[in-house]
C-alpha cells in the first residue's frame, strides 16, 4: 500500500504554479530520490507532503487518510524530516536533541520516560551517534550533527522520512555513509523515504526510484537507469552532460562536459 499518495496536487505561489498536477506515490520500504534544478518545486513538494503548505488543488493521502484532517502533532507522529542543517541556539546535549523527537508522542506536562529513552537510544544506535549522547550539540562536526538529526527524526517513529538535501554539507565519506544508513533503514525497518538530492550519482546508486521535477511538474519517473539519462539531465538542468555507468556499481554516472 502507498504510504504517501499525491493525487493531482497543485500549489500556486503568487502569480504562477510552484507545483502543477503532481501524481505520485511511495510505498513502505521504498527509497525515492527527488531531483531537479533549483526552483523546480522540490522543497515545496516536501512542505506539501509534511502538511506545512496546503495544496491549492488536489489531495495528499498519508497511509490512506487525507492529510488535511490531521493535526500537526498527528502528522509529526507519522512523517519526520531531516533538514539540510539545523540551527542550535542552546547547548542541548545530543541525547536531549534526540529526545525532542518524542514530542508528537507525549502529552502536555508529560516527561519522557524509560520507553522514550529506549527509543532514543535505539535511534542513536541506528544512526551511529550513540557514543555522542552526552556531548553538547555545539561541539559536533557537520557529519556528526547530521547523524543526530537523523536520530531525532527516527525517534519520532515515523512511517515516512523526508530528507531535504541532507548531504549538502558533508564530505564524500559521510555522504556515502548517509545513503547507506538510509538505504538500510528502508529495507530493514520498512521506512518509506524520500530524499531531495543534488548528488545525482549517489541518489542513482541507492534510490529504488527517481522522480525528476521540472518547473513544478514531474518530467520523468522510474528506475535510476530510466530517468538519469544524458537527454533528461541536459533538458531539465539546461546543462550538457554525458551519462555513463559507474564501472563498479553499474549505476548511472553524470559527467559534466
Amino acid at each position: 500500500m502507498a504510504l504517501i499518495r499525491l493525487s493531482d496536487v497543485s500549489y500556486t505561489y503568487g502569480a504562477g504554479y510552484a507545483l502543477q498536477g503532481i501524481n505520485m506515490a511511495a510505498r513502505k520500504g521504498e527509497l525515492v530520490g527527488i531531483i531537479g534544478p533549483n526552483g523546480s518545486g522540490k522543497s515545496t513538494l516536501f512542505k506539501i507532503i509534511d502538511g506545512l503548505l496546503r495544496p491549492s488543488q488536489g489531495v495528499v493521502y498519508l497511509a490512506g487518510l487525507p492529510l488535511a484532517r490531521k493535526t500537526r502533532k498527528q502528522i509529526a507522529g507519522q512523517v519526520a524530516m531531516v533538514p539540510q542543517e539545523n540551527y542550535f541556539l542552546f547547548p542541548f546535549s545530543v541525547k536531549e536533541v534526540v529526545l525532542m523527537g518524542r514530542f508528537p508522542h507525549k502529552g502536555i506536562f508529560q516527561f519522557e520516560g524509560d520507553t522514550d529513552l529506549k527509543i532514543a537510544q535505539e535511534a542513536m544506535e541506528l544512526s551511529k551517534c550513540d557514543h555522542l549522547g552526552d556531548r553538547s550539540i555545539h561541539e559536533l562536526s557537520g557529519g556528526e550533527r547530521q547523524r543526530v538529526l537523523i536520530a531525532r527524526a527516527l525517534a519520532q517513529e515515523p512511517q515516512v522520512l523526508l530528507m531535504d538535501e541532507p548531504t549538502t554539507f558533508l564530505d564524500i565519506r559521510f555522504r556515502k555513509e548517509f545513503f547507506e544508513l538510509v538505504s538500510s533503514l528502508c529495507s530493514q525497518r520498512g521506512l518509506c523515504s524520500l530524499v531531495i538530492s543534488h548528488d545525482i550519482d549517489l541518489a542513482s546508486m541507492y534510490c529504488h526510484r527517481i522522480i525528476m521535477l521540472k518547473e513544478g511538474r514531474i518530467y520523468a519517473e522510474g528506475s535510476p537507469t530510466e530517468v538519469v539519462t544524458s537527454e533528461n539531465i541536459g533538458e531539465v538542468f539546461g546543462c550538457p552532460v554525458l551519462v555513463d555507468k559507474n564501472p563498479v556499481t553499474q549505476t548511472p554516472r553524470v559527467n559534466i562536459i
Binding site: 506545512l52 502528522i75 519526520a80 547547548p91 541525547k95
Partner: protein, 341 residues
C-alpha cells in the same frame, strides 16, 4: 560549558526548584532583617512564628513595610525572568526580554498620562499603565502579523519601533512637566518598589500563577522552537498557537507587574542567561528556576536599593542595571558567550 548529561525529568525539576525555593526563603529572611530600623534575628523569628508582638514598632516594620515590599519584589522578579526566558527562546534572540513587545513603553506611556492627569499611585496609575501595556502589545502583534504568521525578526523590529515612538512621547511629557510630577515620573521610569502594598501582591499572585502555569505547559514547545520554527513544525509543534499563547501570557503578567512597580530592567535579560549556564537550556527546568532566581535577585537588589544610601533610597532599577551589567559582561567574557551562535 555546563551541559546537563542527563535528560530532564520530573525528579530533577523538583530537586532544582526545591533548592531554589530554599535559597529564596533564606534570601527573604535576610532581606527582612536589613533596613534602616534595627530588628534583631530573635525578634524576627518571634514575629514570624506568630508570637505576640513585644514591640509594636518591629511588628509594623516587618509586616507593614518590609514584607509587602519583598513579596512584590519577588513576584516582579519571578515574572520578568520567566518572561525573559520565554521571549529569548521564541524570538531566538539573546537580547530579547519581557519588554520587547512594547510592554514597558506602553505601560510607561499609560503611567505618565496618569501622573500628568494627577491620578494617584493607589489605583489610577497602575490601571493606566496596565491598559497602556496591553494596548501597545496588541499594536506590535498586529504590525508583526503576516499572512504566514509572526516572524521573529519582524516582531522584534515592530517592538523596537513602537518602543521608540512611545519613548518619544514619554520624553515629551517628562520635558514639559512640572517639578513635583517629574520626580514621580522618574521614579516610575526607573522602577520603584517603595510604594508596595500587600493588596497589590494579592492581585498579582493569582495572575502570575496562572500565567506561569500556562507558560509551563509550553515548556517543551519552547525547547523545540529554539531550534527554529520550521524544525519545530516538523516535530509537531503548532508554532503559531504556541507563540500567541506565550506572548499573551507574558504580556499579561509583566504588564500587571510593571503597572505596580514601574520599569525594572535587566532582570529578565540577565537571570535566564545565568541559569542557562548553570542548569542547561531545557525550559522545563529553566522556567521555574528562572522564576525563583529572578525573585531572589530582585528581592536583594531592592534590599540594596533601600539600604545602601540610608536613610535615603535608590530606585531599584538603578541597582539591577548597575549590578547586572558588569556581572553579565564578566560571564560573557568567561564563557565566550558560547551558546549564542
Amino acid at each position: 560549558m555546563a551541559v546537563s548529561t542527563k535528560p530532564v525529568n520530573l525528579i530533577r525539576v523538583i530537586k532544582v526548584s526545591g533548592l531554589m525555593t530554599l535559597l529564596l526563603l533564606l534570601g527573604i529572611l535576610g532581606a527582612l532583617l536589613l533596613g534602616t530600623a534595627e530588628v534583631g534575628f530573635r525578634d524576627l523569628l518571634d514575629l514570624l512564628s506568630g508570637a505576640e508582638a513585644k514591640d509594636q514598632m518591629s511588628y509594623l516594620i516587618i509586616f507593614k513595610i518590609r514584607l509587602p515590599r519583598i513579596i512584590l519584589a519577588g513576584l516582579a522578579g519571578f515574572s520578568l525572568s520567566v518572561g525573559g526566558a520565554v521571549f529569548q527562546a521564541i524570538l531566538r534572540n539573546p537580547l530579547a526580554e519581557p519588554f520587547i513587545l512594547g510592554v514597558s513603553s506602553g505601560a510607561a506611556f499609560g503611567a505618565v498620562l496618569g501622573i500628568t492627569a494627577g491620578l494617584g499611585f493607589g489605583f489610577g496609575i497602575p490601571a493606566c499603565a496596565f491598559a497602556g501595556a496591553l494596548t501597545t502589545v496588541a499594536i506590535v502583534m498586529m504590525i508583526a502579523r503576516r499572512k504566514m504568521g509572526m516572524e521573529s525578526a519582524t516582531t522584534l523590529l515592530a517592538g523596537v519601533i513602537v518602543n521608540a515612538f512611545f519613548t518619544a512621547i514619554i520624553m515629551f511629557f517628562v520635558a514639559t512637566s512640572t517639578d513635583d510630577r517629574l520626580h514621580t515620573m522618574l521614579f516610575w521610569l526607573y522602577g520603584d518598589l517603595s510604594q508596595s502594598r500587600m493588596s497589590e501582591s494579592l492581585v498579582a499572585l493569582p495572575v502570575v500563577a496562572t500565567g506561569f502555569f500556562l507558560l509551563y505547559a509550553f515548556a517543551r514547545h519552547l525547547n523545540l522552537m529554539a531550534m527554529g520554527e520550521e524544525a519545530a513544525l516538523h516535530m509537531g509543534v503548532d508554532v503559531e498557537k504556541a507563540k500567541i499563547y506565550c506572548f499573551v501570557a507574558v504580556s499579561l503578567i509583566t504588564g500587571l507587574i510593571v503597572s505596580f512597580t514601574g520599569l525594572i530592567g535587566f532582570v529578565g535579560l540577565i537571570v535566564p542567561h545565568i541559569l542557562r549556564m548553570i542548569i542547561g537550556p531545557d525550559h522545563r527546568l529553566l522556567l521555574p528556576a528562572s522564576g525563583l532566581g529572578g525573585a531572589l535577585f530582585l528581592i536583594w537588589a531592592d534590599t540594596l536599593a533601600r539600604t545602601l544610601v540610608q536613610p535615603s533610597e535608590l530606585p531599584v532599577g538603578v541597582i539591577t542595571a548597575a549590578m547586572g551589567a558588569p556581572f553579565f559582561i564578566y560571564l560573557l567574557r568567561k564563557k565566550g558567550g558560547g551558546h549564542w551562535h
